[in-house]
């Protein structure tokens, strides 16, 4: 089930909210777990068993690990940690990467091993990483053992962040899992945040995504330079507003249930360097890799050579995490390379240059990275890049480009504005200014209320329209 759908908004969400708030305190986690399982089973009626199995297994690993630690047997504790990591990585590897591996082995050795053809279980990359954070943090002594499988299950399967993150580390929510206090102010903040995310997804990401689908569907050899740039710009907006909208909705839903998740995006497109970009984009993933891969490997403490290798591994894995395909590997390594260059000298140079150069440079390379990201076939990547750099014998600009630019001009401007913190700054300032004046404050609140309802209505209109197909069968 996706958040931006009528079944979720008007059936699942109101029901889970009502049941959750009616349930007594000691059953609240059970309610969340139950509904999260329903939520997951809705899209994955079979793979839900896989997730449950993974929760049960790791719950048990956790108990054993904890007992070993209590018995002061660090060897045993380490053994259980390794068992758990091997278990989780194998599960992810099997369901996500087996076919990728088979295809490559086949190509390399000319063999014909049959592909498994298993569909990817939704969210497996997210929940596996969350589970691993539990076992590793437990081993490190950062969190207590979870003695309630319901609490652990609720943490892993929690529907707000189950499908598209953010990757919540257990130590950030361990306290809330045991005892949390929902409040009207959190709930209201959650509503604002959720509706903002919903609007970003439906009104922004989907709308600009339609432009990208249209341009992407055209053969790259026929794209004018401008069209190619417009297309990938549209995709850049789409992926940011889509992904960050999911995080917004997750954070908002979390607040409604009394959880506080960490921010996952921080206006990445205003970054001043690629290094800065990765501090602002999908923060929970970068932190996860830093904490559970980069630092355990030695980080920067074992000399420059080792640090480069460590970073290489992290970016290789980051690329692969995004999908079992070579273009994602290339995408990860592309960033590895850029980050290396920045570390070597570029960051220092950028600091001396006017700020806008850094911003332009960053955006340029991020936008180009999305070309690698969005085409799985290498030949598609190169031909699209060729179109962007005018190497495909097409005019610099044509009517396709002019049409899409004019037709989406106001949308593009809104997206550009919404990619910056300006709207948020404006909102916070206005709110702070009005707070002390009762009438102004109430008016401001009324306006906010009206805009939230208006956004909901508008989002709903777009959702209803998606299922509207007039005269679909008319011609057949």
């Amino acid at each position: 089930m996706v958040f931006s759908s009528i079944p979720f908004l008007f059936f699942f969400l109101p029901i889970v909210l009502i049941v959750y708030y009616l349930a007594p305190r000691r059953l609240k986690n059970a309610v969340l777990l139950l509904f999260s399982l329903i939520f997951y089973a809705w899209g994955e009626p079979v793979y839900v068993l896989l997730m449950i199995g993974s929760i049960v297994a790791n719950f048990w690993f956790g108990l054993r690990l904890d007992r070993a630690k209590r018995d002061a047997s660090s060897r045993q504790a380490k053994a259980w940690l390794i068992v758990s990591i091997v278990f989780n990585v194998s599960l992810l590897g099997f369901f996500k990467y087996a076919d990728f591996l088979i295809t490559n082995v086949n190509t390399l050795t000319n063999s014909e091993i049959g592909r498994l053809g298993l569909p990817l279980p939704i969210g497996i990359s997210f929940y596996t990483f969350q589970i691993m954070s539990y076992v590793i943090d437990l081993y490190r002594g950062n969190v207590w053992v979870q003695t309630s499988i319901i609490d652990l299950g609720a943490y892993v399967a929690l529907f707000p962040q189950l499908i598209a993150g953010p990757i919540v580390r257990i130590r950030d929510v361990a306290e809330a899992l045991r005892s949390r206090q929902e409040s009207a102010s959190d709930f209201a903040e959650g509503v604002s945040r959720f509706v903002t995310g919903l609007a970003k997804k439906v009104l922004f990401a989907n709308a600009i995504g339609a432009v990208w689908s249209e341009i992407q569907a055209m053969p790259s050899s026929s794209l004018s330079t401008f069209t190619a740039w417009l297309g990938i710009l549209a995709f850049s907006f789409q992926i940011y507003f889509d992904f960050s909208a999911y995080s917004d909705m997750a954070i908002g839903l979390g607040l409604m249930f009394g959880f506080r998740f960490l921010e996952n995006f921080n206006y990445p497109y205003i970054a001043s360097s690629i290094t800065d970009f990765w501090r602002r984009w999908h923060i929970s993933l970068s932190s996860w890799f830093r904490e559970y891969v980069y630092i355990p490997l030695g980080g920067n403490r074992k000399g420059l050579g080792r640090q480069i290798i460590n970073l290489f591994i992290v970016w290789l894995l980051t690329g692969l995490w995004h999908g079992a395909s070579w273009n994602f590997v290339l995408w990860g390594l592309y960033f590895f390379l850029l980050l290396m260059i920045e570390k070597a000298f570029l960051l220092k140079w950028l600091q001396r240059l006017p700020a806008f150069i850094g911003h332009v440079y960053t955006l340029l390379f991020v936008v180009i990275s999305w070309v690698i990201f969005s085409f799985e076939k290498m030949s598609d990547v190169t031909s699209y890049l060729a179109a962007m750099f005018g190497l495909n014998v097409q005019p610099a600009i044509d009517n396709v480009a002019r049409y899409h630019l004019l037709s989406n001009l106001s949308l593009l401007l809104m997206l550009a504005l919404a990619s910056t913190p300006l709207p948020r700054i404006l909102f916070t300032r206005l709110q702070a200014r009005f707070e002390t004046k009762p009438i102004a404050d109430v008016t401001f609140f009324a306006l906010r209320l009206v805009s939230i309802v208006a956004l909901l209505v508008l989002v709903n209109a777009h959702l209803v329209d998606a299922g509207f197909n007039p005269f679909l069968y008319f011609r057949f």
Binding site: F11, P14, L17, S407, L411, M414, F445, V464, A466
Partner: protein, 383 residues
């Protein structure tokens, strides 16, 4: 101040939950409808889950469609979406271009490949020529509004170059008398050849096609016809797709003899089983339906035989889509029998039919560019 904040938080939370609840309750108390007139399709209704459907996920898919299809005030929301796109200056809503002067034009941007179509027609021509060399073969693929009246399209619209594609297609389609309408339909007064709210041509457009056909077939167009309006609130397919709130309806007209009875009212329409479907070419009741264009010829059918009062002894085999429906009332003045074939529904054997119905002096293949390029049934010509 804290108290005020607290109340505000409560109100905000409550409004949100109430919004969700209103929709669900509204949804549940309004009776479900089985069929959508605007969409011409059955709507999903609620079915109880079974274990089998739950495991396969079919129940979930069905429920999602049900929740979408039966959502309260669906037309309003669809209209709101379109309106919001128009307000922010979008030139289309994904289905329809918002043209100037109220024109709503089907959005098509991918140039079709007509090579298979050309092959089918080529083979059909050869086959027909072998079986009945005396039958003349006419081919008319009408360009549509996006190509004929491009001035109504939004700026820089990358519409398909229908004329170029057609020119190439005609070269490869074989031995036909091609009736190319591109000049006749793109004159200064071409606006009145196309509806604002429908993808069809108007009766004026159909008349132009008819006159061009007459010219090619050596017939004398009927002169003493005069136009009369039969509907002034026609909102057709592109209107339904545009879903805008402020309609600018079209009028539907038909041509009748200036004096005396309309022979079209006496045309006998016979279905594929040989029984009389109705007398009179116009299906008047369709004027009130969701698709009033159906007033011409009524519901689509694979095969219809028209027996007219034109005492000419000539018969015509018409292989067509709905564009032809507005042309037929003109053709009835010249042919005593018209065999109307709609390949989408036609399941018979064309060659046998032609043998049985001999002599057939003329065949006319008449489609519009869009339906023709999307048609996947031309192979039926060769059965």
């Amino acid at each position: 101040m804290d108290k005020r904040k607290h109340i505000q938080h409560k109100i905000l939370s409550l409004v949100f939950v109430l919004f969700l609840l209103t929709a669900i309750i509204w949804h549940l108390v309004t009776p479900d409808s089985d069929f959508s007139e605007t969409e011409k399709r059955p709507l999903e209704t609620f079915t109880l889950p079974e274990i089998k459907n739950l495991v396969s996920g079919r129940f979930m898919t069905s429920f999602e469609r049900y929740a979408d299809d039966q959502f309260p005030l669906r037309p309003f929301f669809v209209g709101l979406k379109s309106a919001s796109e128009k307000v922010i200056g979008k030139f289309d809503n994904g289905r329809v271009w918002f043209g100037n002067d109220g024109y709503l034009i089907e959005k098509k941007t991918t140039p079709p490949d007509l090579s298979t179509h050309a092959n089918h027609l080529f083979e059909f021509g050869v086959k027909l020529n072998k079986q009945s060399p005396e039958t003349k073969r006419y081919l008319m693929i009408a360009p549509t509004a996006s190509s004929m009246i491009p001035d109504v399209l939004p700026p820089f619209t990358p519409a398909i170059d229908q004329e170029a594609i057609l020119a190439d297609f005609y070269r490869r389609a074989g031995d036909y008398h091609v009736i190319d309408l591109k000049d006749a339909l793109s004159t200064d007064e071409a606006h009145r050849f196309f509806y604002r709210n429908d993808h069809h041509w108007t009766t004026e457009g159909a008349k132009v096609a008819y006159e061009n056909f007459c010219f090619a077939a050596g017939l004398e167009p009927v002169q003493d016809l005069q136009t009369s309006e039969i509907s002034d609130r026609f909102l057709g397919t592109t209107y339904a797709k545009a879903a805008l709130f402020s309609p600018r309806p079209d009028t539907i007209s038909i041509y009748r003899p200036a004096e005396g009875d309309d022979p079209n009212e006496k045309v006998r329409i016979i279905d594929d089983k040989g029984s009389l479907l109705r007398t009179g070419i116009y299906a008047w009741e369709q004027l009130e339906s969701a698709d009033p264009y159906l007033v011409f010829m009524g519901e689509n059918a694979g095969y219809l035989k028209l027996q007219t009062s034109a005492d000419t002894g000539r018969s015509l085999l018409l292989i067509k889509d709905s564009y032809a429906n507005a042309v037929i009332p003109f053709l009835t003045h010249h042919y005593e029998t018209i065999h109307v074939i709609d390949l989408r529904y036609f399941t018979g054997d064309l060659m046998t039919l032609m043998k049985d119905e001999r002599p057939i002096q003329d065949t006319l293949i008449l489609y519009n560019f869009v339906t023709f390029s999307e048609d996947k049934n031309l192979y039926r010509l060769l059965r």
